[in-house]
């Protein structure tokens, strides 16, 4: 029963690597931001699965903080791309 | 003062949910309850002007949160499943006809517009791109516009949503 969680983490890792293709290739900056956002979401998912696989609840807390902070990062990059930075 | 109390109560609720299962008073231990009270008072002192900016306390009514939960579990989730099957179909076949249209939902509060914009983003074939801040009209990117529909100046909500009328639900929640 514990094996399927590790399989799920492996699949999520493979998906993250596939998304990296778009992150490196993406013709424009917004494309790269979209790919980065996907990587963040998949990372949160794999953290949640890992917390079950290792039996550590703390990993889910890390996932919550990661989700909120990556959201702030996305907003910041989006503001910069839209030319709205005041500084 | 009301803003301070509302913010402190909300922060304390979130702290209670996060520390559920730590002790014996209900589900919480004494230390967590005291620490939660102190921390939520500090948070409220710092952030009351951001959390209740409009001087609008209608979201403090618990009934609205119950309706919001119901809305998220039943109509919203069904639309979301529909959206995902739709996107999966378009990913595989590559059949798209995108464009940006203007949608006039007629909502007044900021929270309502936020909810509707997020709902639109997660439902079939639509993605919010911009908001006209004076009239609260939304600019929506649709992945598949019906033939000839692009000539229409202003879209009605019923042109965009198929199964449920989200603006009606959101009016019940946020106005």
């Amino acid at each position: 029963m514990t094996d399927i969680w590790f399989v799920a983490v492996a699949v999520l890792g493979a998906l993250i690597v596939l998304t990296m293709v778009r992150l490196l290739a993406g013709p424009t900056a917004p494309d790269r931001v979209v790919a980065l956002d996907t990587v963040n979401t998949l990372t949160v998912a794999s953290m949640i699965v890992l917390s079950v696989a290792y039996g550590q609840t703390v990993f889910v807390d890390v996932a919550i903080v990661y989700a909120l902070l990556s959201f702030v990062g996305t907003l910041y990059v989006a503001k910069y791309l839209g030319g709205e930075m005041s500084a | 003062m009301i803003a301070f109390l509302v913010t402190a109560g909300f922060a304390f609720l979130i702290y209670l949910v996060l520390t559920a299962g730590s002790g014996t008073i209900g589900l919480w231990s004494q230390v967590e309850l005291i620490a939660g009270g102190v921390i939520s008072l500090i948070v409220a002192a710092i952030s009351r002007n951001y959390f209740c900016r409009m001087g609008d306390y209608r979201m403090a009514n618990p009934l609205r949160w119950v309706i919001l939960g119901f809305y998220a579990v039943i109509p919203f989730f069904i639309e979301m499943a529909h959206a995902n099957i739709d996107v999966a179909y378009r990913v595989i076949t590559g059949r798209i006809r995108p464009g940006i249209v203007k949608l006039s939902p007629g909502l007044k509060t900021d929270f309502g517009v936020l909810l509707l914009a997020n709902s639109i983003t997660l439902t079939p074939g639509t993605l919010t791109v911009g908001i006209d801040e004076e009239t609260n009209d939304l600019y929506v990117h649709m992945i598949n516009i019906g033939m000839g529909a692009e000539k229409k100046e202003l879209f009605e909500p019923k042109d965009v949503f198929s199964l449920f009328q989200f603006p009606e639900w959101i009016r019940r929640i946020a106005e």
């Binding site: 029963m1 931001v33 979209v34 998912a45 | 203007k102 074939g125």
Partner: protein
């Protein structure tokens, strides 16, 4: 045994939709359509993965191991809500920034926002 099946099905659906989202990002022609694929499918897929974790926690609670698995389920639920909300808002911000930085939706048939800007 039924719980195991539910967990497997939820995990399978979640991984399938996450994979479709990544495929959409690689396949679609411009940034807006990629955002469509990204937001909807990865949010939905992650919701199902979280549901699998919550069901797992619930079965362990029924077997009598309360404290740790209760907080696992509750925290996963909070992560789920935070993720669903922030993903949609973040997609909105990226779309707005892309439009402001001059990205036109490439095969588009109509663009009302561009008409307003001009």
């Amino acid at each position: 045994m039924i719980a195991d099946t539910i967990i497997m099905v939820c995990l399978g659906i979640g991984l399938l939709f996450n994979a479709l989202g990544v495929l959409g990002i690689l396949r679609f022609p411009d940034v807006y359509t990629r955002l469509h694929a990204e937001t909807k499918t990865t949010t939905f897929g992650t919701i199902f993965i979280s549901l699998a974790v919550i069901v797992y926690g619930a079965t362990r609670i029924m077997q009598g191991e309360t404290a740790m698995y209760l907080s696992l389920s509750v925290h996963t639920f909070i992560a789920l809500v935070a993720l669903a909300f922030t993903n949609a808002t973040g997609a909105h911000a990226i779309a707005r920034a892309a439009h402001r930085s001059g990205q036109v939706p490439k095969p588009a048939v109509v663009d009302r926002l561009q008409e307003v800007r001009e």
